[in-house]
């Protein structure tokens, strides 16, 4: 029996939009295995600034309506990126010596199925709550380890160019931005959320990498998750062992990120397809795990979908506007 007071789903606020975008980026950040270095931060910063430069004119202007024909493309991308995130989560669990990572993933699938049943706004609200906890934890990081940070490690050799390209390999949420903006009934909220996400990408993450480099530069050539190596090197964490809390946050962010991508993959579809996408989702995850190179094109796809197509739509709209306008409007009166 349907409830007499059931109502249409509410849109997302700016905070919720920002939270989903930022948590997706953080999930990739936590799962990344590349050791921290100053060049890494430099490449990351440059990529983030370039993205911001390309996106800001689009965010300021009114959103161009996304053609329906393109929506399956975006949904397919969300599914693929979700599969890639699942593979990355497996890698994170393995790196953290989590027991039975495969069993964890098996536990995760029914949880994701259940979360798929919930309204999208629930995941967005949960993301905003988790983001506040994560932000508080991030604030504690420099406080706990500022004394032991050593700038000398910033001179460790690395390639900024590689880091620049790597940054685009990790920002799958970029590909979802047009879909998110077009489905928002409050476009200003979406733009504000995206602006907050750009700020975090271009400021907070590079600073964390720099801080991590100063903390554990010596561990540059050691294997392991660099973020958790950073935690292991901060004295307060060493005494209180806050790694466990960060593990909770990292896995939690990744699960929420997966939920968001799956929601976008099934956006606007019926119940059957909402659950039906789990078969290709798991299949692609197996493919990406078996052949990691097969996922290498996803970064470029994110850039194309997130920046390329919106710019094309914008330019097309501008051209159409110019075509419709007479070149010499005053002559119309003369004629």
């Amino acid at each position: 029996m349907s409830k007499p007071h059931s109502r249409p789903e509410a849109g997302w606020s700016a905070v919720q939009t920002a939270a989903v975008l930022i948590l997706c980026r953080l999930a990739a950040f936590f799962c990344a295995e590349q050791p921290y270095s100053a060049a890494y931060a430099k490449g990351m910063f440059t990529a983030a600034v370039l993205t911001a430069g390309l996106l800001l004119p689009l965010l300021i202007a009114p959103q161009e309506p996304l053609p329906d024909a393109l929506r399956p493309l975006y949904r397919g991308f969300a599914l693929l990126w979700g599969s890639l995130t699942l593979v990355r989560l497996y890698a994170l669990l393995t790196a953290l010596h989590s027991p039975y990572p495969l069993l964890t993933l098996f536990l995760l699938i029914p949880v994701l199925l259940e979360l798929q049943r919930l309204p999208q706004a629930a995941a967005a609200r949960a993301a905003s709550l988790l983001l506040f906890v994560t932000a508080a934890a991030f604030l504690l990081l420099p406080v706990s380890g500022i004394r032991t940070a050593k700038p000398v490690f910033l001179h460790e050799p690395d390639s900024a160019g590689a880091a620049f390209l790597r940054e685009f390999q990790q920002c799958g949420e970029l590909g979802l931005l047009p879909l998110l903006r077009s489905r928002e009934n409050k476009p200003l909220a979406a733009s504000r959320g995206a602006a907050a996400w750009l700020t975090v990408r271009s400021a907070v993450l590079p600073l964390t990498v720099i801080f991590g480099t100063m903390q554990n530069g010596r561990l540059l050539h050691l294997t392991g998750n660099p973020f958790f190596l950073l935690l292991a090197r901060t004295p307060l964490s060493d005494a209180l062992r806050t790694d466990g809390i960060w593990m909770l946050l990292a896995v939690g962010s990744t699960v929420l990120c997966l939920t968001a991508f799956l929601h976008f993959a099934a956006d606007g579809t019926g119940t059957r397809l909402r659950y039906g996408i789990f078969l290709p989702f798991c299949s692609f995850a197996l493919l990406f795990a078996a052949v990691p190179e097969s996922a290498s094109g996803l970064g470029a796809a994110a850039v194309l979908l997130g920046i390329g197509i919106p710019w094309m739509l914008r330019l097309r709209s501008l051209c159409a506007g110019l075509r419709g306008r007479p070149l010499f409007p005053h002559r119309r009166h003369e004629g």
Binding site: R7, L108, N185, V255
Partner: protein, 496 residues
């Protein structure tokens, strides 16, 4: 069921027979045949539902003292209508089902020969529990009065605290068989638009035969049947309900139960008590954070202990690890079995203590806590750290009694997740729980507000307990937390 739709014929013997037939010859239907000014009448009452004193004072004596003889039934009826005030709560009925409903609600009904209408006088009075201190919401500085079973007594408890004409009561009935009285109460100037209509619509469509407690109605008012957190609250305290009504909520009093329903409820409110507003703000803020910490401890401590001990021992300090290893090495069961077992025993003892008489109940506590616990540790069946963790978790749960049911269900699930997948398992389940809580809403009010959706100005009474001067300026209204389809947040005009 022909009689169910019959109206009064005006022939006294026929009407009396029809009423008796409609009641099925029920033994508690009392009739007294009298003659008033030459007109044959019959006074009907329901045994045990009327106050004898009131009946004599407001109905019998005035009828006996009538100073003139009416010529016929119509004149008698007109005289009863206009000349005498028998009871402030009086009405007239024509249909037999309505007549029976009034009778069983404690009215005295006068059948008059020759009149197709019967006057009914409200002389209710039945045995009920007196007003006592609430058993589950005790406060130090608050009033010692709690709701009791009769709905009208509960209405008077509210009215005594709020004499404003804006406080409105509306009586409804629910339950096709029990026809239980429900009373909606709200403040007209601050209830969110449309909320009352939606509640009325829900209550009128209740597919219930009877309403014996608040728990019968609550699931129909909530968004989901499987929600672990309630979006409709309950309270035993009239002062708490008054505070909720002031914030624009709607209360439902149910006849026969000392609990009122409050719509909507926010999650943060389950960590607040009336006493918080009697303490100095700093102390109340500390208490608030203590409750949040207790909630997390009650839910996650056993699972975290298990995850760290079993799968992530590196997270523990060396001395602590050594201590735990020494304690656990002689325990015959696995850590998971130990934790689940001790929590299972705790739930058994709690249930046993709850259902027994008070004197025996405390004995169960002593036997359970001291004898079984001590004996189990002494015999080596369970280790001391496991017992400590379980006891800490259980005790923390007492701080937030509202969430006891959810904690009892979730604790073993978290333990199993931690046992299978360590901290990652806790994170996966925790994220699912967080999403579930964020998805819970009633009538468009999400329980996770004002944290999500974020209302920054309203967090001051969630993260802390601000002073009354600032609190009174803020004028919180629950309508601010309501989600609109376009996600606009409605603010009060006076706070914007």
């Amino acid at each position: 069921m022909e009689t169910a739709f019959r109206t009064l014929s005006g022939r006294l013997t026929d009407d009396l027979a029809a009423v008796r037939a409609a009641s099925g010859g029920s033994a508690d239907l009392l009739s007294a045949e009298i003659t008033i000014g030459g007109v044959p009448c019959c006074l009907l009452t329901c045994e045990g539902m009327v106050a004898g004193g009131l009946l004599a004072e407001l109905v019998t004596e005035p009828l006996n003292q009538l100073g003139f003889s009416p010529s016929d039934s119509a004149a008698l009826l007109e005289m009863l209508r206009t000349r005498r005030l028998f009871s402030a709560d009086s009405t007239e009925v024509r249909e037999i089902p309505a007549l029976l409903k009034l009778l069983y609600a404690g009215f005295a009904v006068l059948l008059i020969d020759g009149a197709g209408t019967a006057p009914a006088f409200g002389v209710q009075g039945y045995a009920s529990r007196s007003i006592a201190e609430p058993s589950g919401e005790q406060n130090i500085y608050g009033a010692k009065e709690g709701f009791t079973e009769p709905v009208r007594t509960n209405m008077s408890l509210l009215r005594r605290r709020m004499k404003s004409p804006l406080l409105t009561f509306e009586l409804l009935s629910a339950g096709t068989v029990s026809q239980t009285d429900l009373c909606l109460c709200w403040l007209r100037d601050r209830v969110p638009a449309g909320l009352l209509g939606e509640i009325r619509e829900t209550l009128s469509a209740l597919p219930l035969e009877t309403v014996l407690s608040a728990g019968y109605i609550r699931p129909f008012l909530e968004h989901s049947d499987s929600a672990l957190v309630h979006s409709v609250g309950t309270t035993e305290r009239p002062d708490v309900l008054c505070a909720k009504l002031l914030e624009g909520r709607v209360g439902i009093l149910i006849d026969g139960t000392p609990f009122a329903l409050v719509i909507p409820q926010l999650l943060c409110e389950t960590f607040q008590t009336l006493d918080d507003y009697n303490y100095p703000p700093a102390y109340a803020t500390l208490l608030r954070w203590l409750k949040y910490a207790a909630g997390l401890t009650a839910l996650l401590l056993p699972a975290c202990y298990l995850a760290v001990s079993l799968h992530h021992p590196a997270l523990m300090h060396e001395t602590l690890l050594r201590l735990l290893t020494e304690s656990e090495q002689n325990a015959p069961f696995s850590l998971t079995a130990e934790l689940l077992g001790i929590l299972f025993v705790y739930e058994i003892l709690r249930e046993a203590g709850l259902r027994l008489p008070k004197a025996t109940g405390s004995a169960v506590g002593i036997i359970g806590g001291l004898l079984i616990g001590d004996a189990a540790v002494q015999s080596g069946l369970i280790s001391t750290p496991v017992l400590t963790v379980a006891a800490l978790s259980a005790t923390s749960g007492f701080v937030i009694p509202e969430h006891h049911a959810a904690l009892t269900v979730l604790r073993p699930l978290f333990i199993l997740a931690a046992s299978a997948a360590g901290i990652a398992g806790i994170a996966v389940l925790g994220t699912a729980l967080l999403c579930h809580v964020c998805a819970t809403e009633a009538f468009g009010f999400p329980v996770s507000a004002p944290a999500a959706p974020l209302l920054p100005r309203r967090l001051s009474d969630v993260l802390a307990r601000i002073g009354f001067r600032r609190l009174s300026q803020q004028n919180f209204r629950v309508s601010e937390t309501r989600l609109q389809p376009d996600d606009t947040i409605i603010y009060n005009n006076n706070t914007r």
